[in-house]
C-alpha cells in the first residue's frame, strides 16, 4: 500500500483527489498548507505527494517542493504538482524546484490515476 499525500488549500480539490485515488492500493493523506505537507511527509514517509502551488501561509507549493527534495528523508518521494498556474514559466519553476511531474487544473481524474499508477509502479 503506497502512501499518497494531497496538498491543497481547497477542500473540494483535496476531496476530488482523494476520491480519485481511493482504492486498496493507496493510503491517502491530506494537507492544507506547505508546512503541514512537510510534516506529514516526514512522519508518514509518503511515496507520492500531489502538491498545489497557491496556498495561504508563508510557504507555497514551490517552496514546499524544494524543501522536501532537499531533505534526505523525503527526497525520494515523487512529487506531482497540481496547480491552476498553467504557464510555461510556472512549469519550469516547478521542475526547477524538484517536482517530478506537473499537472494543470482543471485536470482529468483518470489521467491523474494513470500518472499515479505509472509513478508508483502499478
Amino acid at each position: 500500500m503506497k502512501k499518497v499525500l494531497i496538498v491543497d488549500d481547497q477542500v473540494e480539490v483535496r476531496d476530488l483527489v482523494e476520491v480519485t485515488l481511493r482504492s486498496e492500493d493507496y493510503q491517502v493523506f491530506q494537507a492544507e498548507s506547505g508546512e503541514e505537507a512537510i510534516e506529514i511527509a516526514r512522519t508518514e514517509k509518503t511515496d507520492l505527494i500531489i502538491m498545489d502551488i497557491m496556498m495561504p501561509g508563508g510557504m507555497d507549493g514551490f517552496e514546499a517542493t524544494r524543501a522536501l527534495k532537499n531533505d534526505p528523508e523525503t527526497k525520494d518521494c515523487t512529487i506531482i504538482i497540481l496547480t491552476a498556474k498553467g504557464q510555461k514559466a510556472d512549469r519550469e519553476k516547478g521542475i526547477d524546484a524538484g517536482a517530478d511531474h506537473y499537472f494543470v487544473k482543471p485536470f482529468s481524474p483518470l489521467e491523474l490515476i494513470k500518472k499515479t499508477e505509472e509513478v508508483l509502479g502499478y
Partner: protein, 813 residues
C-alpha cells in the same frame, strides 16, 4: 682771270727780254744810238702800255724802296707819284702784310723765281683798307746781278667783298633751312631726296643718314602719288606749285601725318637744279576737322533720325528746316511743307501768339503743352521744347524745337490712372482680406499654440538642425527645463535623460516619421519614476521639405501598470476560472466514471459542482462589469428616486441566507430618504462590499450596515447632476458643505495592513492573492469605487489587521 694772269706773265717776260736788249744795246756802243732810239721808242711804247693798264706796276730796289710805278698804282694806293717814289712797302701796308711781303721777296731773291701773293691788305693814303693781289719777280742788271724786284698788283677789294657777301648769304640760308620749324626738303625731278631739314626728318621719323634712300614712294600713299607727280610736272613747267597740296604721309613707324606742301624749282648757275618744298604739319588740324565732321555727322543723323519731330521756323511762321519725323508726324511731304504756314499746324491758331509771347519772354520753353493738327485734320496733344533763334544783332529770327506727340501717352496715362485706381481698390480689398486671414491665422496659431501647450503629453518641436522650437508645459515638467531657457538651444541642452537624448538624436538624424520608443524618466525626491513613450513625426512643408520634427512624450506609466495588472489579471482570472472548473470537471468525471459514488457522497460532490459553477458565474459577472466600466461603453446610470434603506434591506437577508453563521446588523433611520441613484448599481456596490466582509471575516463575526443622511464638507466629484441641487442648498449651508447619504459596512474580519488598504481600489488587487480558498478576482472594490464615483460620491476604507475593516461611502443627495 687766268687770261689776265697769262697776259701779265707774258708782259713780265717781255719786259725782261726788253731789259736784256737794253743791256745788250748799252754794251754795244755801236749800236747804242740806234739802240737808244729804239729803246726810247720801246720805252715810250711800254710806258703807254703801263699807263694804259688797270693793274698797278712797280719796281723796287733790293731794300724795297719804290723806284718805278705806273699811274694805276698811284690810283690804287691813293698816293701821288711824288709821294710814292722811294716809299717802302712797309709804309702803306699793315705790319703783317709787310712781314709776309718780306718773306715772299726774300724767297724770290733766293730762288730767282717769280711768286704771287694772293690776298694782302694795304692801307691807302686816306686810311682805308684795300685788298690786293700781286705777282712779283727778281729784277737783274745786265750782268745778271739782282738789283731789285718788279711786280704787278691788282685791287681785288670789290671782288672779295662780293664773295664775302655771297658766303654770308649762303650761311644765312643754310641756317634758315636747318633751323626753321617748317619742314623743308629738296628733291630731284624724279622725286629722290637730296636734302631735308631736321623738322622734316623728325616729322617723318627719319634720320639724316636715310636721306639718300628716300623718295616719294617712301611716304606718299599710292592714292596720292598721281597728285605728287602732277605737282612735280607743274613745278617743272611753271617753276612753282600754284596751290598748296595736302598729303597724308606715312612715318617710319607706320603711323600717318597730314602735311600741306608748297614747292618751287631752284636753280644752280641759271639751270633748274632741284625742287625745294616746304611742308607744314596739319595732323592736329586734320584730326580736329575729322572730329568736327564726325560730330556734325552725328548731330545730323541725330537730327534726321530722331523719332521726335524737330523744326526750325521763322518768326513769321515759315518752315526753315524740319526732319523726317516732323513730316511723318504731320503727314506732309517735304515739298508741301515749303508752302505751309506754321499757324496751319495749330489746332487753335490763337495759340501761336500765346506761344510766341511765352517763348520770347523766357528765351525757351520746356514741355509746353499745345494742341497741333495733322494734315488730315487729326488733332494731337503735343509737348514743345523750343528755344528762340537770335540774329547777330539780337533780333529774333524764329524758333527751333522738338515736338513730342503725347496723345497716346495721355490716353495711356488716363488708362493707367484708371488701372491704378482699380488696382488700389483691389489691393485694398485684398489687404483687408489678407489682414483678416492674417488675423485668423494668428488666432489659429495662438489657438494651436495654446492647445499644444496645454496638451497633457510632453511635446518637443525641433527644427531640422535639432534646435528646440517649442516645448509645451508638460514637456517642461517632464524634462525639468523651462521653454524660455531651451528655445533655440540644441536638443541636447534641454534633455538630460540619456536614453531620450540618444534616441531623439538618432531619430532626428534619420528624420523618420512614426519612430517610437520607450524610456524611463528617473524620479526625483518627490516624483516617482515615470515610463514614457516617445513618438516622433517629421512635419513637412508645402513643397515636401522637412521643416520640423515633433516628438510627443506620452506618460505610459499608468498604462504599463494597467498592462501589468491586466496580465496579472489574466493569470489570476485563469487561475480563478480553473479553480471552480477543477471541481466541476473532476467531480463530474468521477461521477460519470465511478459507480461506487452514491448517496450522501454523490450529493456532496454534486453540491461542489453546483457551488463552483455559481462561483464561476460570479467571476464572469465581475469580469464583465469591470470591462464595461473600463470601456465606459454601455455603462450609464439609470438614476431614479430610490429609498436606499430598501436596497439595504433587500440585500442583507440574502447574505444572511448565504452565510448563516455570520451575524448581520442593519442600522437605518426611521424616516425614509429618497436619493437619485441607479438602484441596480448601488445594489452591486453593497453586494461587493458585503461579500468581502463575509469572505474575510470569521464565522460568527458581526457585519454591521449603517445608513443615513449627513452633512459633508467634502467637495464631491463628478456631481454634475447634483450641482444645481448644491447651489440650491448653498443658501442654508456653507458653500462647501452638502447633504449626503452615507453608508458604513463594518466587519470584524482579518483586516488589512496599511499597504494593502492603499491598494484596495486597484484593479485585480487582492490583499492575499495566494489564498485561493477565498474566491475573487480582485475587481470588487475597484468596481465599488467606479460606481460610487459615477454617482458623484466618494468611498473610503479603514482597516486594522486582525481587527476588521470598515468601508464607508457617500452619495450626494
Amino acid at each position: 682771270m687766268r687770261y689776265e694772269e697769262k697776259a701779265e706773265e707774258q708782259l713780265i717776260n717781255e719786259l725782261d727780254a726788253l731789259h736784256q736788249r737794253i743791256a745788250e744795246l748799252e754794251k754795244s756802243e755801236a749800236e747804242r744810238k740806234r739802240a737808244e732810239e729804239a729803246l726810247r721808242e720801246s720805252e715810250e711804247k711800254y710806258r703807254t702800255i703801263l699807263e694804259g693798264i688797270e693793274e698797278g706796276y712797280f719796281e723796287v730796289d733790293l731794300a724795297g724802296n719804290m723806284t718805278f710805278f705806273n699811274d694805276s698804282l698811284c690810283k690804287i694806293t691813293g698816293f701821288l707819284p711824288g709821294e710814292l717814289m722811294g716809299m717802302n712797302n712797309r709804309e702803306y701796308t699793315t705790319p703783317q702784310t709787310a712781314k709776309m711781303m718780306y718773306q715772299v721777296f726774300n724767297k724770290i731773291y733766293r730762288t730767282g723765281k717769280p711768286e704771287r701773293i694772293m690776298d694782302y691788305e694795304i692801307i691807302t693814303k686816306n686810311g682805308s683798307t684795300r685788298v690786293l693781289e700781286m705777282s712779283a719777280s727778281l729784277m737783274r742788271d745786265s750782268t745778271g746781278q739782282p738789283v731789285g724786284f718788279r711786280g704787278v698788283v691788282r685791287d681785288i677789294t670789290e671782288r672779295k667783298q662780293a664773295e664775302e657777301e655771297l658766303r654770308e648769304s649762303e650761311e644765312r640760308y643754310r641756317a634758315l633751312f636747318d633751323r626753321t620749324l617748317s619742314c623743308v626738303y629738296l628733291h630731284d625731278f624724279e622725286g629722290r631726296f637730296i636734302d631735308a631739314n631736321d623738322a622734316a626728318l623728325n616729322l617723318l621719323g627719319r634720320t639724316r643718314k636715310e636721306i639718300p634712300s628716300l623718295d616719294f614712294y617712301s611716304f606718299v600713299g599710292e592714292d596720292q602719288l598721281p597728285t605728287a607727280s602732277r605737282n612735280l610736272e607743274e613745278i617743272l613747267r611753271t617753276g612753282l606749285q600754284k596751290t598748296p597740296t595736302e598729303f597724308k604721309l606715312k612715318k617710319k613707324d607706320g603711323s600717318y601725318v597730314w602735311v600741306v606742301t608748297e614747292a618751287s624749282l631752284i636753280y644752280r648757275e641759271g639751270n633748274p637744279y632741284a625742287v625745294q618744298g616746304i611742308a607744314r604739319d596739319i595732323t592736329e588740324q586734320k584730326r580736329a576737322e575729322e572730329a568736327l565732321r564726325k560730330s556734325e555727322e552725328r548731330y545730323r543723323s541725330l537730327f534726321e533720325q530722331s523719332r521726335d519731330a524737330i523744326y526750325i521756323t521763322s518768326r513769321e511762321g515759315n518752315f526753315g528746316y524740319i526732319n523726317q519725323s516732323f513730316l511723318d508726324l504731320f503727314g506732309y511731304t517735304r515739298e508741301k511743307i515749303t508752302d505751309l504756314k506754321v499757324q496751319e499746324t495749330y489746332a487753335n491758331p490763337d495759340d501761336r501768339p500765346r506761344f510766341q509771347k511765352e517763348i520770347e519772354q523766357k528765351g525757351s520753353v520746356r514741355d509746353y503743352e499745345l494742341k497741333l493738327r495733322k494734315k488730315d485734320g487729326t488733332e494731337m496733344e503735343c509737348l514743345l521744347t523750343a528755344t528762340v533763334r537770335l540774329a547777330n544783332n539780337g533780333s529774333i529770327l524764329g524758333y527751333q524745337g522738338i515736338i513730342r506727340d503725347i496723345t497716346e501717352h495721355k490716353r495711356a496715362d488716363e488708362k493707367i490712372k484708371e488701372y491704378s485706381k482699380n488696382l488700389e481698390r483691389m489691393v485694398e480689398v485684398r489687404t483687408r482680406r489678407l489682414n483678416h486671414a492674417l488675423y485668423e491665422a494668428e488666432e489659429a496659431r495662438d489657438r494651436i499654440n495654446g492647445i499644444l501647450k496645454s496638451v497633457a503629453d510632453g511635446l518637443i518641436v525641433t527644427d531640422i538642425n535639432n534646435r528646440i522650437i517649442l516645448l509645451n508645459r508638460a514637456a517642461e515638467d517632464l524634462l525639468g527645463v523651462r521653454y524660455s531657457e531651451a528655445i533655440d538651444r540644441p536638443v541636447d541642452f534641454a534633455i538630460q535623460e540619456n536614453t531620450l537624448r540618444n534616441r531623439i538624436n538618432t531619430t532626428l538624424g534619420k528624420k523618420m516619421t512614426g519612430y517610437q520608443f520607450d524610456f524611463e524618466l528617473p524620479g526625483g525626491d518627490t516624483k516617482p519614476p515615470r515610463i514614457m513613450r516617445a513618438r516622433t513625426s517629421v512635419i513637412q512643408g508645402k513643397s515636401g521639405e522637412e521643416t520640423c520634427i515633433v516628438t510627443i512624450m506620452h506618460d505610459v506609466t499608468d498604462e504599463r501598470e494597467v498592462d501589468r495588472m491586466k496580465t496579472e489579471f489574466i493569470s489570476t482570472a485563469a487561475h480563478e476560472l480553473r479553480t471552480p472548473l477543477t471541481a466541476i470537471r473532476g467531480f463530474s468525471e468521477i461521477l460519470l466514471t465511478r459507480d461506487d459514488i452514491k448517496g450522501e457522497e454523490k450529493r456532496k460532490f454534486l453540491s461542489y459542482i453546483n457551488k463552483q459553477s455559481v462561483n464561476l458565474a460570479n467571476i464572469i459577472t465581475d469580469l464583465l462589469d469591470i470591462s464595461r466600466i473600463e470601456s465606459t461603453l454601455g455603462f450609464s446610470l439609470k438614476k431614479v428616486p430610490c429609498n436606499i434603506a430598501c436596497i439595504i434591506n433587500d440585500i442583507v437577508p440574502y447574505f444572511q441566507e448565504q452565510s448563516p453563521k455570520h451575524i448581520f446588523e442593519v442600522v437605518l433611520p426611521e424616516e425614509s430618504v429618497e436619493v437619485m441613484v441607479d438602484k441596480e448599481k448601488i445594489g452591486q456596490v453593497l453586494e461587493n462590499v458585503l461579500s468581502n466582509a463575509v469572505k474575510y471575516s470569521p464565522e460568527g463575526g458581526l457585519i454591521r450596515v449603517t445608513g443615513g443622511l449627513t452633512i459633508s464638507d467634502l467637495q464631491l466629484q463628478n456631481a454634475e447632476q447634483s450641482e444645481t441641487e448644491h447651489s440650491a442648498h448653498s443658501e442654508i449651508s456653507s458653500p462647501k458643505s452638502s447633504i449626503v447619504y452615507q453608508i458604513f459596512i463594518e466587519d470584524q474580519g482579518i483586516g488589512m495592513t496599511p499597504g494593502q488598504v492603499k491598494r484596495i481600489f486597484d484593479k485585480f488587487y487582492r490583499a492575499d492573492a495566494s489564498n485561493t480558498a477565498v474566491p475573487g478576482t480582485g475587481l470588487g472594490m475597484s468596481i465599488v469605487k467606479n460606481l460610487v464615483e459615477a454617482h458623484g460620491g466618494k468611498v473610503w476604507v479603514e482597516s486594522k489587521l486582525a481587527k476588521g475593516t470598515t468601508v464607508r461611502f457617500m452619495i450626494p443627495v
